[in-house]
């Protein structure tokens, strides 16, 4: 009674009348928060069901309950009409519920092929692992999907986009009745996204129920049959996609209307050069990159996957080594080329990888925020806690960071609020140039516009903002000037007025 993506036709036809998965009256509480309050969620076999909502709406919690990561406090879960008790990820997998998490969940030391079969190795004689089958099946699986990933590669050596493809492929390697995808396209190229959509439609045609979690409205309108919106842990609406427009969907998600995602408040950029980069090259990627960023402007960098945006971001703040070139911040040369000098001169990076390069998840909000400026709170070599807390509280208020207290572990905050904590860290230090890499990755609509407003405000306060992004609306909406990269080179710099989607994409292709 299940369908195996690798061997379609071997599964039994699924009864279309019984819901594939039915969650009723689900409650989940965490200390001090009601994460889910009496939520119903029903999945029909063969249908693609989008799950939407802002940060903290309860989407992740609901997914994690389906995956067995969290237990529910109340409610029932029925699988094809039968009540089931899901207590661990193992139970969930056994019932054929496959979740593709947003955070890459792969063993980096293993090969791609081994990761694909992690949850159940095919075994041959005497229970030995059948490595030949693992290699052959994973190659066949990638072929079928059309993803271009080498099954023999060490997973940790692959770029994030390919790891995401491995994650997706893994969900299809075993029998599945329900496939849940949490923001599966966050680091895929448009081409790969369309491949993924073909795969999802094929899953649905095989009778699998698909849950598609995304913040991207255009994706949801393209792929979903049904949309369920959660807000503040409560079920708001479940409708066929045809009954929604962008406006009604956003309205359901945030409970109010957003007229303009990019409310520009700041004035025109100044003419003072805050950052100058001359003939920068790195061993891995960058090739002779030169540009200037002025105080008070947002300079947007666009490029396809692998164009070198992240590499550029890390090189200009002194994080990654360079082989030649000159970086000048506010008139002083960044030498020696390291982050210590970078921070002293006033350039900082808001990383795309908040979890491993930005935050110390276990530590409280206030320590994360004050990290770069402890010197300012020091008295006789000791940190003046009261002063530190006051300063952090000031930022929490200004940026409306949603946290129960300064002492909350930062890992418990939503993505948008974590991003604000990181921005506070740099502002507290008194930056002149801030480099932001994919500032809204994994952050949803309502919070996105807050991040946009924040970036706008940073430029308004006279910082030069260098923004790396792969999102066209973000690029066009926020930038004063737009730079385009292709394979490590800078292929175009244009003013916002000259820029169109076409000439940006042309430059990005090279």
């Amino acid at each position: 009674m299940s369908v195996d993506f690798l061997h379609p036709g071997e599964g039994v036809v699924i009864d279309k009348d019984v819901p594939a998965l039915e969650l009723r009256g689900i409650d989940k509480r965490f200390p001090g928060v009601v994460a889910l309050d009496n939520v119903d969620f029903t999945l029909e076999p063969g249908k693609i069901h989008a799950l939407m909502g802002e940060n903290g709406a309860g989407k992740s919690t609901l997914i994690k309950i389906m995956a067995g990561v969290y237990g529910k406090d109340a409610g029932t879960i029925r699988l094809r009409g039968r009540e089931v008790d899901i207590k661990s990820p193992r139970d969930s997998l056994k019932e054929g519920i496959k979740v593709v998490f947003q955070e890459i969940a792969l063993i980096s030391e293993f090969t791609v092929a081994e990761n694909i079969f992690l949850e159940g190795y095919p075994t041959g004689r005497a229970g030995s692992i059948d490595w030949k089958k693992i290699r052959a099946d994973s190659a066949a699986l990638f072929n079928r999907i059309g993803f271009n990933v080498d099954p023999a590669a060490r997973t940790g050596s692959l770029p994030v986009s390919q790891q995401q493809m491995v994650e997706i492929a893994r969900a299809l390697a075993h029998e599945a009745r329900v496939v849940v995808m949490d923001e599966p396209t966050s680091s895929l190229t448009p081409n790969e996204v369309s491949l993924l959509f073909t795969v999802i439609q094929r899953l649905a045609s095989l009778g699998i129920a698909v849950v598609y979690v995304s913040h991207k409205l255009d994706e949801v309108f393209e792929i979903a049959d049904t949309v369920t919106v959660l807000r503040d842990g409560r079920h708001i609406s479940t409708k066929p996609i045809g009954e929604h427009t962008s406006d009604t969907l956003i309205q359901d998600m945030i409970g109010r209307r957003i007229d303009n995602l990019f409310p520009r408040q700041r004035g025109a950029a100044g003419s003072k050069v805050a950052l100058s980069v001359e003939k920068l090259s790195t061993a891995k990627k960058l090739d002779d990159v030169s540009f200037e960023a002025r105080a008070g402007e947002v300079l947007g960098f666009f490029g396809l996957m692998g164009a070198g945006r992240t590499e550029l971001a890390k090189a200009i703040v002194g994080y990654d080594p360079i082989i030649s070139g000159k970086i000048t911040v506010d008139g002083s040369r960044l030498a020696p080329h390291d982050t210590r000098t970078g921070v002293r001169l006033g350039i900082g990076l808001l990383t795309e990888d908040r979890k491993s390069e930005g935050l110390m998840g276990e530590l409280p909000v206030y320590q994360n925020a004050s990290l770069a400026s402890l010197g300012a709170f020091a008295r006789l070599g000791f940190v003046d806690k009261a002063k530190e807390h006051r300063a952090v509280q000031d930022y929490v208020d200004r940026f409306r960071i949603k946290t129960p207290s300064l002492f909350q572990q930062v890992k418990n905050l939503s993505g948008g609020n974590q991003q604000k904590v990181l921005i506070s860290r740099w502002l507290m230090r008194g930056l002149k140039v801030i480099v932001v890499d994919e500032p809204t990755r994994g952050i949803d609509v309502g919070a996105k516009s807050e991040i946009f407003a924040l970036i706008d405000r940073l430029a308004g306060e006279g910082l030069a903002v260098v923004m790396m992004t792969s999102e066209m609306p973000e690029l066009l909406g926020l930038s004063d000037r737009i730079a385009v990269m292709c394979e490590g080179r800078l292929t175009a710099i244009m003013s916002r007025d000259e820029a169109t989607q076409e000439n940006i994409l042309n430059a990005a292709i090279g």
Binding site: R90, L93, I107, N148, S161
Partner: protein, 331 residues
């Protein structure tokens, strides 16, 4: 050409580079260098007798090293093995003296080892106490217990069973010490488990990333629990061979043995962080240190110097490894 294919072309080094990137090959080259150096400088070093003797001596750290490596790979540590060596000799010798049965003695020793492994495993995996602390604790408790029980006097093996004595000086075909044969069999068996059994891969997965392993449906706690039992049982086997060699239960048996094993395991490229390393690497690490120590003794260098040199080699090896890894990850 798609972007994905350029990316994967970049991440695939040449076959030669991949071979050299393998820890085991570098270690094998080191071992050959050590053997070559002492063959030239020390008389009778490269003789069947000396080489098999060293293998016999290496069998104890080899056997216990399997357990040490397995626990490391699962992301934990076990430093109680030295004390366990001394402790399990008590049930072994006492039961043999009473019953004149090797089988019952060995059975009693293994049962005792199993209990200690279960205690270590339970406290670490289920009670969630740091494994370094747990095994440091059981290390002291067992050593203290042995001192108390024996009153710091050896308990001699009065049964003197031939089969037991053969464990110390018997040789297969008159060439290979039985203890080395046992070590090789265990290495092959556990090497197979780690590479080709689902449970072996689960150990790597748990050590590589505990949360990912849990999401893949693994019982992380059970995997770790079993690793501690494997470690304790293998240390028990090493302890039985040691007791046969000294012909008694000694309260000082296996003092500092755990650090000798940890040193060789780390030299063999098994990471304390978990998920990385192989039993082949561990075995090569043991052999390098054993042959080095044997050769240095042949050169007439005092033991004190061997300690100093061993210490320097371990730090150098791990530093080298770290540098290589950093380069591979391009940071």
């Amino acid at each position: 050409m798609s972007l994905a294919s350029t990316a994967s072309a970049k991440t695939q080094p040449s076959t030669l580079a991949r071979l050299f990137a393998r820890q085991e090959l570098a270690l094998l080259v080191c071992l050959i260098l050590v053997l070559a150096f002492f063959s030239v400088t020390v008389e009778n070093f490269f003789s069947v007798r000396n080489l098999t003797n060293v293998l016999g001596q290496a069998s104890l750290p080899l056997i216990a090293g399997i357990g040490c490596a397995v626990v490391f790979i699962s992301g934990e540590v076990d430093i109680s093995i030295g004390s366990l060596l001394a402790t399990i000799a008590l049930p072994l010798i006492i039961i043999m003296n009473d019953t004149n049965s090797l089988l019952l003695g060995v059975g009693g020793a293994l049962l005792f080892g199993l209990i200690i492994g279960a205690v270590n495993g339970y406290l670490t995996a289920y009670a969630g106490i740091n494994s370094l602390i747990v095994t440091l604790g059981t290390m002291f408790i067992m050593r203290g217990g042995v001192y108390l029980y024996t009153g710091q006097r050896a308990i001699p093996d009065d049964a003197s069973l031939d089969s037991f004595i053969a464990l110390s000086d018997g040789r297969l075909f008159n060439i290979m010490p039985y203890s080395a044969v046992i070590a090789i069999i265990l290495l092959v068996a556990f090497g197979y488990m780690m590479r080709h059994r689902p449970f072996g891969r689960q150990i790597y997965a748990v050590g590589g990333n505990q949360e990912v392993a849990r999401l893949a449906g693994y019982d992380v706690r059970r995997v770790k629990f079993v690793c501690f039992i494997i470690s304790a049982l293998l240390a028990t086997v090493a302890g039985i061979i040691l007791a046969a060699r000294v012909g008694s239960a000694q309260h000082t048996a296996g003092l500092n043995f755990e650090f000798q094993v940890v040193a060789a395991t780390v030299l063999g490229g098994v990471s304390l962080a978990g998920g990385i390393g192989s039993l082949t690497g561990m075995a090569l690490g043991v052999l390098i240190l054993q042959f080095l120590s044997n050769g240095l003794r042949g050169l007439g260098l005092p033991t004190e110097w061997q300690l100093v040199i061993t210490g320097m080699i371990i730090i150098a090896a791990v530093a080298f490894d770290e540098a290589k890894r950093r380069r591979a990850n391009g940071g």
